[in-house]
Symmetry: C2
Subunit: 251 residues, 2 copies
């Protein structure tokens, strides 16, 4: 009764087979395939729809360091905690030094959204909050191995970021290079993070069952990203904005 | 920037004002107003779409006793635990005695869904899982007062159940009275539960801030219900079924 997946999580005897299946999962389910991104990157959205995307995505951005702090809290192994800690710095920055969240607020500000309103998160779609919070709960409630595995969508992020930077700059007169610095920065950060996480799961998933759990953690995370775009598409492309959510000015 | 709500959570000096605002929230945001329910109750869905609704809603049904067990676990007051315990019995039944979950499986079976597949929940929309799990996490993480307040959607349930029973029996040849027993039973159960929960929050919310928290817990819960229907509408009415989710047979 299910759409048949483009991969099987049943043949996972080796770390190399695990990596191959993880890459198949990304090729089949990463949100670069979502219709909303085709519209966003192809210049087919109006400013209000791009605002809705950036406003909702802010909740994901500002939840990532909370998620990463939970991941750190799962490890008694100091080396992992030290390695993972730089993710907090990447997103939160430091005293007098901007991080990813501030860079995202440059994007929302550049799109004409009030920063206090964005930071309040009061206008986001409930479905955005449910999906993002599910990610934080996942890394708290599942095994440390699954917590790290759920970050593996970063393996597939650079391509979509390059596509997004080029597409948004080419198509939207309300987008300029200075507000796209978040994505430019992630082009360096995401691969480093992904390489560590991939190496970790290949080394620490010892059995086919553990490798399947790693694959399912990545599938879970692709669902977290996909569900956010489904909700944006339903509300702001098909026009079913739920009660209390951000309502763009006509345009 | 927000759609202006049909109520204010700012004028909450008394228990009576609290009840009035709670009823305004229900009138403005309960999912009886959702377009998907108009289609469902009006006979405008095909069998596959009704199957998708029942399959996804099963995940909500089978999570309710887990949610209620968490609520019970929040109270050191034996009387509340005893009062709330009958909700577990209503949904789980007893040895040799069916409960709400079994009645829901009669509905899905009557709609032609394989019970093992329904119970596996593998075909549900990720957005359904995120929304329902958010409800379980809410009653665990918020105050006991908010945990009870989030059940207050039951104040508004009898009307939608009557509408659903009449509408589905009138419009769908694949629906018969025996598979609608879940809703008939809830017509008695929900009011009893709602009256207790309403009395509890009116008695135990002592300050305007606590009454506002009660209102926000009800708004949260209306969002949990609304988001599930948004996801069903997007996937099965507009036809954007996400990867891995239930795909109805043509019909």
């Amino acid at each position: 009764m299910n759409a048949s997946p483009a991969f099987s999580t049943k043949n996972l005897e080796t770390a190399e087979q695990l990596e191959a299946v993880l890459r198949q999962i990304g090729a089949a389910r990463y949100h670069s395939l979502h219709p909303f991104h085709r519209l966003l990157h192809g210049g087919e959205l109006n400013k209000g729809q791009v605002q809705a995307w950036a406003l909702n995505r802010y909740y994901y951005q500002c939840s990532i360091p909370i998620k990463d702090a939970v991941v750190i809290s799962r490890f008694r192994d100091r080396d992992i905690r030290v390695e993972w800690r730089h993710r907090l710095e990447d997103h939160d920055g430091d005293v007098g030094q901007e991080g990813g969240i501030e860079r995202w607020l440059k994007l929302t500000e550049g799109l004409g959204l009030d920063t206090a309103y964005v930071e309040s998160t009061e206008g986001i779609l409930p479905a955005t909050r449910f999906a993002v919070d599910a990610y934080v709960h996942f890394v708290r409630d599942r095994t440390p191995l699954e917590a790290i595995a759920s970050s593996l969508t970063e393996l597939f992020a650079p391509t979509i970021h390059e596509e997004r930077i080029a597409g948004m700059l080419a198509h939207y007169d309300f987008v300029n290079p200075s507000i796209m610095t978040y994505f430019k920065r992630r082009l360096d950060q995401a691969p480093r993070d992904a390489i560590f996480a991939l190496g970790y799961v290949k080394q620490h998933a010892h059995t086919p069952a553990e490798r399947e759990a790693v694959c399912n953690a990545l599938i879970f995370k692709t669902n977290v990203l996909w569900a956010q775009l489904d909700a944006l598409y339903h509300a702001y492309v098909d026009g079913h904005v739920p009660p209390g959510a951000f309502a763009p000015k006509a345009g």
